[in-house]
């Protein structure tokens, strides 16, 4: 089966400084692929090369079998691009915006009306279709921003932080809609600052840092990279130093550090099962006022691989 996207050895430099180095990955039809990286890691440059806004210094991009440099029209016709900003006309209505992009992208005149109505239904904005965009809420704008990329029924939807600044209800609506698109066979390339979104909808994830992909795989594979240890966050009231020394000797604990005045972080295999032992160890030395067990996740993996949190 032809991949929805194959990119290989993509590189781009600005004034001798490499923004993207040797980036390559594939996305299968019906697969959601996440691209994670801190600010300045090269995500936007990579996406710009994938949608044809930037010419790569090296490398190839093939979309649904069409080479982007050799046949850009055919390749671009298979891509739906959702930019981070609301890239629509605020003084036009939602329907007028969608109609404009239908015509611009060459949809046959007789299909325009139907496609616009279909997309408006898809993003839940049929009842506000004839209101000007600048009267829409932030969440509605985000939804129609996505809708405009779906008009020509692309094989691959590329979304650059599509939920920035939206309320939880709109975020849920957007993610539900994207899951339906993936279930219907559309491929997704998704970047977000919200790790939980990526964990929810992406089958595979690549972590990009300093212009290169430093890890790639399913959520499980990536988490395995930093081991399966749980993190236990303890807040104590009492002799914290003595408690820390005792906990370092507890079987199963691989790391114990003081993180604040009364706080200790433990890294332990199967930490959630170790919790009763942890509490009894500090009993009589300090009172446990709060405890949190954090299972290994992408956030931890990301931190481990890039040295920063995603929102830095």
């Amino acid at each position: 089966m032809t991949n929805a996207l194959t990119c290989a050895n993509l590189s781009k430099s600005y004034g001798g400084v490499a923004a993207v180095r040797d980036v390559g990955f594939t996305i299968a039809p019906g697969e959601a692929y996440g691209l994670l990286g801190p600010n300045g890691a090269g995500k936007t440059t990579t996406i710009s090369m994938l949608v044809g806004l930037l010419k790569p210094d090296a490398g190839t991009v093939v979309v649904g079998g069409a080479d982007l440099s050799a046949d850009p029209m055919a390749a671009k016709a298979k891509i739906g691009y959702v930019p981070q900003e609301i890239a629509l006309y605020p003084d036009l209505t939602g329907r007028e915006n969608l109609r404009f992009f239908c015509r611009l992208f060459g949809l046959p005149r007789r299909e325009v009306r139907g496609r616009v109505a279909e997309v408006l239904d898809m993003v839940g904005l049929a009842d506000r279709a004839d209101a000007k965009l600048d009267t829409y809420s932030g969440g509605m704008k985000r939804r129609i921003n996505i809708g405009a990329a779906l008009l020509h029924r692309p094989e691959l939807l590329i979304l650059d932080e599509p939920t920035v600044g939206v309320d939880p209800q709109s975020r849920k609506s957007i993610l539900d809609g994207l899951e339906r698109l993936v279930a219907d066979g559309m491929a997704l390339l998704y970047t977000s600052h919200y790790m939980e979104e990526v964990e929810r909808i992406c089958h595979r994830v690549a972590i990009i840092d300093h212009g290169s992909i430093v890890a790639e795989g399913t959520r499980h594979e990536l988490v395995e990279l930093v081991g399966g240890a749980d993190r236990i966050e303890l807040t104590l009231d009492g002799d914290v130093e003595t408690a820390l020394a005792k906990l370092r000797g507890l079987g199963g604990v691989t790391e114990a550090v003081r993180t604040a005045a009364g706080s200790i972080r433990l890294i332990a295999e199967g930490g959630r099962y170790l919790l009763p032992s942890v509490i009894s160890t500090v009993d009589g030395i300090a009172a446990v006022t709060a405890v949190e067990v954090v299972e290994p996740d992408l956030e931890a993996t990301f931190l481990h691989l890039t040295g920063s949190t995603l929102r830095d």
Partner: protein
């Protein structure tokens, strides 16, 4: 490709119509400009009208001959009105009161002095408030001076040849009125009688063309800022479509704007711009050059505000050096040479030539050619700029 282009153009035009900028810049401002210049500078009236005082302290044949020649001159018909005044003081008073624009004073004994081959001096009074009348008066006096010099030379030659002085005097007086008709040697408008409302109307149209097309390219940079340009370019269209779509609308609106200025001037004030085909072609070439130059600015600008500022500066510099704001002939020679690098100068010169004569398209082939060359050069540089920037 064509459908995408028309889609972008239609949206741009719709946006400009909705926010009323199209109506303002294509219709209201041109009509207002033509009306303003028509009312202020002419319309049906000849452009140069001067009342000049004549003080004849001589009472001889020469001042009478000048008067006859001035009144008989087809070149000065309707331009110059003579008012007799008894003396220099009265002339100065009339000048100060604004009753006359300038005065020519023939001193006592002037005709005798010229007839005797001794030459003579004619006085001129002018006022800073009426510079055009001063130009006319000085032009008349320059012509008189030429005649005096010629006659003085002829009288001296005759006397030297032994012709009796009485015969020479009689000969001069008999032929005084037979001299060539006076003409304005310092005609301030190249090409003869040009309606100033046409001159400045054309100049303003040339200037405004830059603003009209500039607005479209500013829109392109705003689209870059709001992300719609990238959204378009990410779609299955040629990268040049958004740029060309904007350019087409800017070009068309600018053409409408200059043509409305032209039509208003002709239909409301009866001004004569010359051969319609030649005028239209010249305006077309000017708008093409203005489109290319503003496109070049847009291709290099980082923001819409920067493009706005640069287009404003270029427009006014080109308008100033190109004679859209002040007549070209008033500029020093060096600046007149610099003016040749502006489209406005070629457009203004071409339109002035057409308005002042019955010439056709062939007479403005050079200005049209230069304007097209400017357009081609600017389009080329703009294409390079866009490839490195917006389309890079």
């Amino acid at each position: 490709m064509l459908r995408s282009l028309l889609t972008v153009s239609a949206l741009e035009l719709r946006t400009r119509v909705r926010d009323r900028t199209a109506l303002i810049i294509a219709i209201i401002v041109p009509v207002a400009m033509a009306t303003l210049f028509g009312v202020a500078l002419g319309g049906d009236d000849p452009p140069l009208r001067a009342t000049i005082g004549m003080v004849d302290l001589d009472g001889g044949e020469f001042p009478a001959g000048v008067r006859r020649e001035v009144l008989a001159s087809t070149e000065l018909e309707g331009v110059l009105t003579l008012r007799d005044l008894p003396g220099r003081e009265q002339a100065q008073s009339a000048l100060d009161a604004g009753d006359i624009g300038a005065a020519i004073i023939f001193p006592a004994g002037f005709s005798d002095s010229v007839g005797a081959g001794e030459g003579g001096q004619v006085g001129v009074l002018t006022s800073a408030d009426t510079p055009l009348a001063g130009v006319v008066a000085n032009a008349v006096v320059d012509r008189i001076s030429s005649l005096v010099r010629a006659r003085t030379l002829a009288v001296r030659a005759s006397l030297d040849a032994g012709v009796p002085a009485a015969e020479v005097k009689e000969f001069v007086e008999r032929n005084g009125a037979a001299g060539p008709a006076l003409t304005l040697e310092n005609d301030p408008m190249a090409g003869g009688r040009v309606d100033l409302s046409v001159y400045y109307g054309a100049g303003m149209a040339a200037l405004f063309a830059f603003f009209v097309v500039g607005a479209s390219f500013r829109g392109l940079l705003i689209e870059r800022k709001q992300g719609t340009l990238d959204r378009m370019r990410a779609g299955p269209i040629h990268g040049w479509v958004p740029i060309a779509g904007k350019a087409v609308v800017g070009f068309v609106l600018a053409m409408v704007s200059v043509c409305v200025t032209w039509a208003s001037s002709v239909l409301i004030f009866g001004s004569t711009w010359g051969d319609p085909v030649a005028v239209f072609t010249l305006l077309l070439a000017h708008v093409l050059a203005a489109t290319a130059i503003t496109m070049l600015v847009a291709s290099r600008a980082r923001t819409d505000a920067q493009a706005d500022g640069v287009i404003m500066v270029i427009s006014f510099v080109a308008a100033f050096f190109g004679g859209s704001l002040v007549p070209l002939y008033t500029l020093p020679d060096l600046l007149q040479q610099i003016a040749l690098f502006t489209p406005n100068a070629w457009t203004t010169t071409g339109l002035t030539g057409l308005a002042g004569s019955g010439a056709g398209l062939a007479s403005v082939a050079l200005p049209i050619g230069v304007l097209c060359a400017i357009a081609a050069a600017a389009f080329g540089l703009a294409a390079t700029g866009f490839r490195k920037g917006l389309l890079g």
